[in-house]
């Protein structure tokens, strides 16, 4: 166990933890990355040397205390090292989303006054050079991948390895300065600044101190008894707080190994090869994997299919109980063991989950069927509820008390409070310091006693103490007749169908609810193939009458289940349409973490919303789309609008 190594507070920064790991477990692997088809690895001692060389090189470039260093790239050891190297120099690392287009970067780069930018490759360098006129204070760009960079003017461009070489060469001159700067780091100095994805308005720079990161890492590592032999796969955006806490906070505190995939496309293969023991994924990833499994099973031979169905049904019955250590009859246990041998084991291996000891999902609600599927296989999948401002952890599922409909109990060290309007407040050691250069927003979010408003509405279940989330507090509204309107609640129910990728429900201030639906191309496309339905484009498939029929059936089923809840029965969907394009972050309709921007969508498709409420059965629309390279185009479509059957509120029947 790693915790015996130190009492809290003894190691007050990531560089201090790095020094400890290099000293105590120097020959254990700290990073692995697949390159040229082989997993390359670096021990903690190697890592310390690499980071130190880079930090010395940065000093030679003239980095000052308090400078902001933007890091843009995919998950690679070198990019993590750049963050720690910046910390060593007393600077603040600011990881940014690598798939953001140049104009989106202008705001963040300008807001944090980045003097240095570390770029993964030519693509990112190009973006930075493109915005350099608007963001004049960028002095040096450091890039890692040399490919295509030869012809650039290198006056302010530096190859990562050159900087390291410079650092190594200058070590006698700069070492004392670097050591002094490392020694200055304490619990109150800034560890990292992360931009919130900004579901509303401009992104805000959340400043997290070493105290936030280190204490959150200590608490959460203890909660799940993480140990040095754990492995994680770092594949989620580096700009996201979760990746920072897992791949840097916990990894450095506990001393486990961070594995980086070869490329984003090979993620699933790499996952299988590494077989992480500690795994995090947003619900969407679990959903996609399950959809893929189901699609492949549809194509499997009859014998295999029957065996799969038989054992999966058994797993559904007893799997979660076995996982939670509840009593199960000996026969059932034996059958489960057989299933493990024939189905669950190989399936978990294919998915890359053979070794998963702790799996987390968060960010969005996960469908109960999806959640139960993984748990029935014996994968300890849990939910957590958190946000950047809390350094991730607000509530988590303890082992043995895992339920799909709650987000768990307060994480260690976290206090919870529910305001009168249902909004959730918390206070914890992870509570952020401030929003950078934005005292008004800081004051709006965090009060003088340190309580932070989450913006989510929810309640704590009385007997279990588990937190349940209803919706975003500001999205919970009233319909014109005063009934409660909770769009997310209905959208999540819709999204649990594999056919539906995304749904947006409208109805605040109106007399009825309506919805936009995005179909899931993988699931519907496969279905179309099996039913001999020809289609040429996403748009054509989305508008197909049979697809409309299938979606209508889903909507009506959801209406039935919504009607069962007395408080929310007003949220049944009366009319809906299937959108002709997928909602996309490039078009501003979603955040980079794939959350729908309700206001943008409502604004952009106002003609369609009008049609949903004026009773028309079809509507012509034109939509501007942005391609990945930034060019714009236009798509036009005539969309069908359908009525869905609604249930009468069950209140009468109950009386």
């Amino acid at each position: 166990m790693a915790y015996e190594l130190a009492a809290a507070g003894e190691y007050a920064s990531i560089p201090a933890l790095l020094a400890r790991n290099a000293r105590d477990i120097g020959d254990k692997p700290a990073y692995r990355e697949k390159e040229f088809g082989i997993w390359q690895s670096w021990t903690w001692a190697d890592t310390a040397e690499e980071i130190r060389a880079l930090a010395l090189g940065m000093l030679a470039l003239g980095i000052e205390r308090g400078d902001h260093v933007a890091i843009i790239g995919r998950n690679r050891p070198a990019h993590y090292w750049a963050m720690v190297a910046a910390q060593m120099c007393g600077a603040v690392p600011v990881p940014l989303y690598q798939d953001a287009v140049a104009e989106e970067m202008v705001y963040t780069l300008d807001h944090c006054h980045a003097r240095f930018v570390v770029c993964g490759d030519q693509e990112q360098v190009d973006k930075v050079l493109e915005v350099q006129e608007q963001v004049a204070h960028i002095e040096h760009v450091i890039y890692f991948d040399k490919r295509g960079m030869r012809k650039y003017n290198h006056a302010h461009l530096n190859w990562y390895h050159d900087i390291q070489e410079e650092g190594r060469a200058a070590h006698t001159r700069l070492e004392s300065e670097l050591d002094a700067r490392i020694a200055e780091l304490d619990y109150d100095s800034t560890c990292v600044m992360l931009y919130t994805s900004g579901t509303t308005g401009k992104p805000k720079g959340v400043v997290l101190s070493n105290r936030n990161i280190v204490e959150s890492a200590i608490n959460s590592a203890e909660f799940d008894s993480l140990h040095r032999d754990d492995d994680i796969l770092a594949y989620l955006p580096m700009a996201w707080v979760g990746d920072f806490i897992f791949s840097l906070g916990q990894a450095y505190w506990v001393g486990f190994c961070t594995n980086c995939p070869e490329s984003p496309d090979t993620m699933m293969n790499d996952l299988r090869e590494i077989g992480p023991t500690y795994y995090f994924a947003p619900p969407r990833v679990f959903e996609t994997q399950l959809t893929n499994v189901m699609i492949r099973m549809e194509d499997a031979g009859r014998f295999k299919k029957r065996m799969f169905d038989y054992f999966m049904a058994h797993a559904k019955n007893v799997g979660p109980a076995i996982l939670d250590g509840k009593p199960v009859s000996a026969i059932d246990k034996l059958k489960y063991k057989l299933g493990e041998f024939f189905i669950y084991g190989p399936l978990k291996n294919t998915l890359g989950f053979s070794r998963v000891r702790i799996g987390y999902t968060a960010g969005e609600a996960i469908g109960p069927e999806i959640f139960e599927f993984y748990r029935s296989l014996g994968i300890n999948l849990k939910q957590l509820y958190g946000q950047t401002e809390a350094t991730v952890f607000i509530t988590v599922h303890p082992d043995g008390q895992v339920r799909a409909d709650t987000v768990g109990v307060p994480a260690p060290g976290v206090e919870l409070r529910i305001a009168d309007n249902g909004e959730i407040f918390y206070r914890s050691p992870g509570t952020f310091v401030e929003y950078y250069n934005n005292p008004e927003s800081t004051a709006d979010t965090k009060d003088s006693e340190g309580w932070v408003a989450t913006g989510d509405a929810g309640f704590i279940e009385e007997n279990s103490g588990h937190l349940r989330i209803i919706d975003r507090a500001k999205d919970v509204g009233k319909m014109s007749d005063g009934r409660l309107f909770a769009p997310k609640y209905v959208e999540n129910k819709l999204k649990f169908y594999p056919d539906i990728l995304e749904a947006v429900v409208f109805g605040s201030g109106r007399d009825m609810c309506t919805a936009f639906i995005n179909i899931d191309l993988t699931a519907i496309g496969n279905w179309a193939e099996r039913n001999n339905i020809a289609y040429a484009s996403y748009q054509e498939l989305a508008g197909h009458p049979q697809v409309y029929g299938a979606i209508q059936a889903h909507v009506e089923e959801v209406n039935k289940s919504v009607a069962a809840d007395e408080m929310l029965s007003g949220c049944q969907i009366h009319r809906f349409l299937i959108l002709h394009k997928e909602l996309d972050a490039d078009d501003g309709e979603m955040t980079r973490t794939r959350k729908v921007r309700r206001i943008v969508v409502a604004d952009k498709f106002s003609d369609l919303i009008g049609a949903l409420y004026d009773g028309s059965t079809q509507q012509y629309t034109e939509t501007e789309v942005t391609y990945e390279d930034g060019r714009k185009g236009k798509i036009t479509a005539t969309l069908e609008i359908r009525d869905a059957a609604v249930m009468a509120a069950q209140k009468v029947a109950a009386e």
Binding site: F36, G37, I38, R150, K151, S263, D265
Partner: protein
């Protein structure tokens, strides 16, 4: 045009174009009574991207086959590195550092991408059949070295995700990329591309253009390509040879060629009488 006759010069985007590496001297190729190529001469300089364009049936692919040694012209000589190249088998030509891709993809459909690309290394393997069968000693060492080279190419062309996928299961655009990978694995000095972008969509064409430019830029490989998409040709190449009915009707920079009346006629379809 002056600079073209100099030994070497630097292009506007900073690449150095060297001296002549290959020269076609009065090539004539006949198939029975059909004259596919008639008295054509042109040269290829070191480090340049040289395009051959022309309408269907102009003799472009035949020309490429002459360069690769697959066809032997009835008249004329192919000069390579300042000396006439004797008649030789295509594999000998490959050993001289010339690699190619084909218009109608010629990969081993049942083999994985990795194995296909490995075949590009055959000219670099020297171990005997017995030691290869035993996978011992030199054969083993060679495989490690060759695999490392192949992995570099896979990384370069960003096809890591399909490394183990059988080629038969890949879409057309990716197969084209695998073919390029196999040619690159041979570490050629001169790369011949026969319609690398035929049948691709805009995005695939952009990717392929980027790879061709990167190959030329990173490895300094001389590239000779046949292409139909005029936009691509004009953007990529340093010099263009235009063929029509087996004859050369134009030769020069993209701009020269674009303004050449004979070329315009050939493409707009002026009657040949």
């Amino acid at each position: 045009m002056n600079q073209m006759n100099a030994e070497s010069y630097v292009t506007a985007d900073g690449r150095t174009i060297g001296g002549v590496v290959m020269e076609m001297k009065n090539i004539t190729l006949r198939f029975g009574g059909v004259t596919a190529i008639e008295d054509i001469s042109f040269d290829i300089r070191e480090g340049e991207i040289r395009a051959i364009i022309g309408p269907n049936g102009a003799g472009k692919s035949s020309m490429l086959n002459v360069i690769s040694g697959f066809y032997v012209p009835q008249e004329g000589e192919v000069w390579f590195h300042g000396a006439p190249r004797p008649k030789m088998r295509p594999y000998k030509v490959a050993k001289q550092g010339i690699a190619r891709t084909f218009q109608n993809i010629a990969l081993f459909e049942g083999m994985s991408v990795l194995d296909n690309v490995m075949t590009g290394r055959l000219t670099h393997m020297k171990s005997g059949m017995l030691s290869q069968a035993m996978w011992w000693g030199k054969a083993q060492r060679e495989e490690f070295e060759n695999r490392a080279q192949v992995e570099k190419v896979i990384d370069f062309l960003e096809i890591q995700a399909i490394r183990k996928t059988p080629v038969g299961r890949l879409p057309y655009g990716l197969k084209k990329r695998v073919e390029l990978a196999r040619a690159l694995a041979a570490e050629p000095k001169l790369l011949l591309l026969d319609e690398p972008m035929a049948g691709m969509n805009v995005e695939e064409k952009e990717d392929m253009s980027r790879f061709i430019l990167d190959v030329n830029d990173e490895f300094g490989t001389t590239i000779c390509l046949i292409e139909h998409d005029m936009g691509v040709v004009m953007d990529l190449s340093d010099r263009v040879v235009v063929m029509d009915y087996g004859k050369k009707i134009g030769d020069g920079t993209p701009n020269d060629v674009r303004n050449n009346q004979a070329v315009i006629d050939a493409y707009l379809g002026v009657s040949h009488d």
